[in-house]
Symmetry: C2
Subunit: 152 residues, 2 copies
DNA sequence: CAGTAATAGTTGCACTCGCAACCAAGTCAA
DNA sequence: TTGACTTGGTTGCGAGTGCAACTATTACTG
């Protein structure tokens, strides 16, 4: 314990995870940024609404573990681009029910398709069977390491 | 190909990687942020200098794949905190040779130790053998998906 | 009911980032 | 040597982020 056992960033798990995450995210980013001028957060909010249908910002936070301020701003931007609409909840007038517009659904269909293709290509590269294990590993890391964890 | 095959963010590899990366990085962040008020980039620059000794900013960029402006600013901050010093290179007066100060080395020893401990704990949680495979997977993803990919 | 605590969502601010533009020093070739 | 090009590093600026503070509404409790 006396000798600092030479630390090597290159084999530090958080570092490797970051590099891999950035590499893949940046790569796919082109799809939503170039074509629709969207942010990563906006894309994620859109993806959640596309998948789960109408829901409140709070629900999106709970499901996706994205900071509420980020969601708030992403929602504003998406609304401005006419990709979603808000409606005050009858049960709770603080909450707003978010729904994709027709155009929002179109964009989701397009990007969702591209995401699936990208994901499949990635899994094909590293080997489909191994990719499945990777999923499990990542999920367990996410589950264990505290709670949130967002980042774009 | 007609039906959009319902896309699910939760099993999108880039998303999972991001969540895992954020979770682990945020967790370890406490070590350098709380104690030394350092940024992730600053910590990484320090780690590289600690590991490889004196080198130029350019070298750090090449090794760590961090944007040069990020390195530039991190170096300034570290210098301000007296953790490293600069010296104009005799061979090329554009370049500056960066070296950790005594204090810089102390901090690196401390954080390096904590990083090793954190890394080991993480690997223990997911299983040491599997962790080794994970390393390989991540490296191959990083290698395949283009080049850079930094992000803090 | 009043009065306090909790919750949905927004906003101000300080900070980091990425990109492009920019210096200064070095290289190369006519 | 001069002029065109490359390279190490910095800086200005627009944009995204996190955190804390804040508004409005709802829930709880005596």
């Amino acid at each position: 314990m006396a000798v600092p056992a030479d630390f090597d960033l290159e084999s530090f798990l958080p570092y490797l995870l970051n590099q891999a995450a950035e590499a893949t995210s940046k790569s796919f980013q082109a799809s939503y940024k170039a074509t629709y001028g969207m942010t990563r957060t906006q894309w994620r909010v859109l993806a959640n609404l596309g998948k789960f249908g109408s829901m409140t910002a709070r629900d999106i936070c709970a499901i996706s573990h994205i900071e509420k301020t980020k969601v708030s701003r992403a929602v504003s931007a998406l609304e401005e681009d006419l990709l979603l609409s808000r409606a005050v909840s009858p049960q709770d007038r603080r909450a707003e029910i978010l729904s994709l517009t027709d155009r929002g659904r179109e964009v989701f269909a397009d990007l969702g398709q591209k995401a699936i293709e990208y994901d499949l290509a990635l899994r094909a590269q590293i080997g489909p069977e191994i990719a499945a294990q990777l999923d499990e590993l990542l999920r367990s890391i996410i589950a264990e390491s505290g709670t949130d964890g967002d980042e774009d």
